[in-house]
Amino acid sequence: MLSITADDVSFSYGMEDVLSHVSFSIIGPGKTVILGANGSGKSTLMKLIDGLYPLRRGRIEVNGLSVSDSNAIPAIRASVGIVFQDPDSQFVSPVLEEDTAFGPENLGLDREEVERRVSRSLELTGLSAFRLRVPQTLSGGEKERAQLSGVLALSPEVLIFDEAFSMLDSISRREVMGIVNPMRKDHLLVFITHDAEEAVDADTVIIMDKGRIIASENPRDTLSRSDLLRSASIRPPFAVRMRDALKKRGIDVGSPLTMEELEAALWN
């Protein structure tokens, strides 16, 4: 079963706790968004999930395997793919197809299987025509897709996106999301972001503030609570801000979450 669970996890780099008593349970497939301001501890949490940092207090399990069990780490890393911000700093090869092959080659797969995965990943991300290009010469959106290809070539069941698309303009972002979003049907997708707009279509939204989880529900219940979001330095989605602004002016438009819902409410 696809799942990530955390039970009473605390973590510190020095004196101060960056995570304190964090507990949650995400069951896949589907899309979960971990929403938090800069410094809320969300990236640290992601690194603990992948076993990149040693966990000292609490317990984290990925697909039922404990990240504290060093024997389980290879299996966890094989099932979790992470897409980071800033693809530029992560390219390892001067040729895109070699860059995409880097992951599966390091899993020790045979040559045919590596080739099969590289072709499939590049096709999925729409980059087949670019397979001999130098990754650094791609545009921003293409670089993000190139990085995604490398992660998909590992065939992960769980995909974590750590502020992955914040560098992209809105059109490129829509392109990448068009590739990623359908994967929620059979993968567990976890987006780590400070942008509440990215969370409106999630199945679960976990809101973090100063190392603690302050809410974990469906987007309709969490994102419409603007006081809660603002207390965590998160800007509510546009439709929610407009709802609040209209309420102040004595007008009730219900609780729209998306632009479409807001528009519908305004026409009625």
Partner: protein
């Protein structure tokens, strides 16, 4: 300060940018455009950091030869440019070589760190112990500490949360107040609606150039107001007023 490019071009490998003429006046100018449209290249041409292969760069009408300390550049990911062993010494390093005494340096650095919202306890820590947002704020504070007359910022808002954004807006407001010419590239529209000027780049050329009202047609506010038949409104509060007015009228 007024920064002006006259028929300026630079060479990147075998590619030469078509000559561009542009002036940036005191106030806030926003440069928008898709990834790869040439925003960063234009910013670098204005920075006096790289030599032009043709044309001139002028500051208040005088041609610049080499780099001018009156122009500050905040590159993408400024947080990666922190280098000193403590946050305090990093931020104060921009004041070195200006002939200021130690007290003055300390005073200005403290003020910059307070404005950047960095907890006093962290001033003596390594910059790498700060969170991503704090690191970014410290780096920006350091870049602006010598009070430059022109500031060029390349996507300073990428990855910033609400609190860090307010710091940035506050900073930009104070730069504008003292007559600084600020040019900022961005994907977001939040800063653009209050700017003096908005430019849009496409494939290396500026294709739109005007006030926010003239140029911003794609923000949430502009899209919603247009769809509701209210014309193009780019400011959030103004849009809320107009929608409220209309809905009261319908009741």
């Amino acid at each position: 300060m007024e920064l002006r490019l006259e028929n300026a071009s630079i060479q990147r490998g075998s590619f030469r940018i078509p000559p561009v003429s542009l002036s940036i006046d005191p106030g806030l100018s926003i440069l928008m455009g898709r990834s790869g449209s040439g925003k960063t290249t234009l910013l670098m041409m204005l920075s006096s950091l790289i030599p032009l292969c043709e044309g001139r760069l002028l500051a208040d009408g005088k041609e610049l030869q080499g780099h001018s300390r009156r122009i500050a550049v905040i590159f993408q990911h400024p947080e990666r440019q922190l280098f000193a062993s403590t946050v305090f010494s990093d931020v104060s390093s921009g004041l070195s070589g200006l002939g200021l005494d130690r007290d003055e340096i300390r005073k200005r650095t403290e003020a910059a760190l307070v404005q950047a919202g960095i907890d006093r306890r962290k001033w003596t820590c390594s910059p790498f112990s700060l969170s991503g947002g704090e690191r970014r704020r410290a780096a920006i504070a350091g870049a602006l500490i010598a009070e430059p007359d022109a500031v060029l910022m390349d996507e300073p808002d990428v990855g910033l949360d609400d609190a860090s954004r307010s710091f940035l807006s506050g900073l930009v407001a104070s730069l504008r107040d003292r007559g600084c010419a600020v040019l900022m590239t961005t994907h977001g529209c939040d800063d653009a609606e209050d700017a003096d000027r908005v430019m849009i780049m496409e494939k290396g050329r500026i294709v739109q150039d005007g006030t926010p009202d003239e140029v911003l047609s794609f923000t949430d506010e502009a899209v919603l107001s247009t769809r509701l038949g209210l014309g193009r409104i780019v400011r959030f509060e103004e849009l809320a007023d107009r929608i409220a007015e209309r809905m009261r009228g319908m009741e």
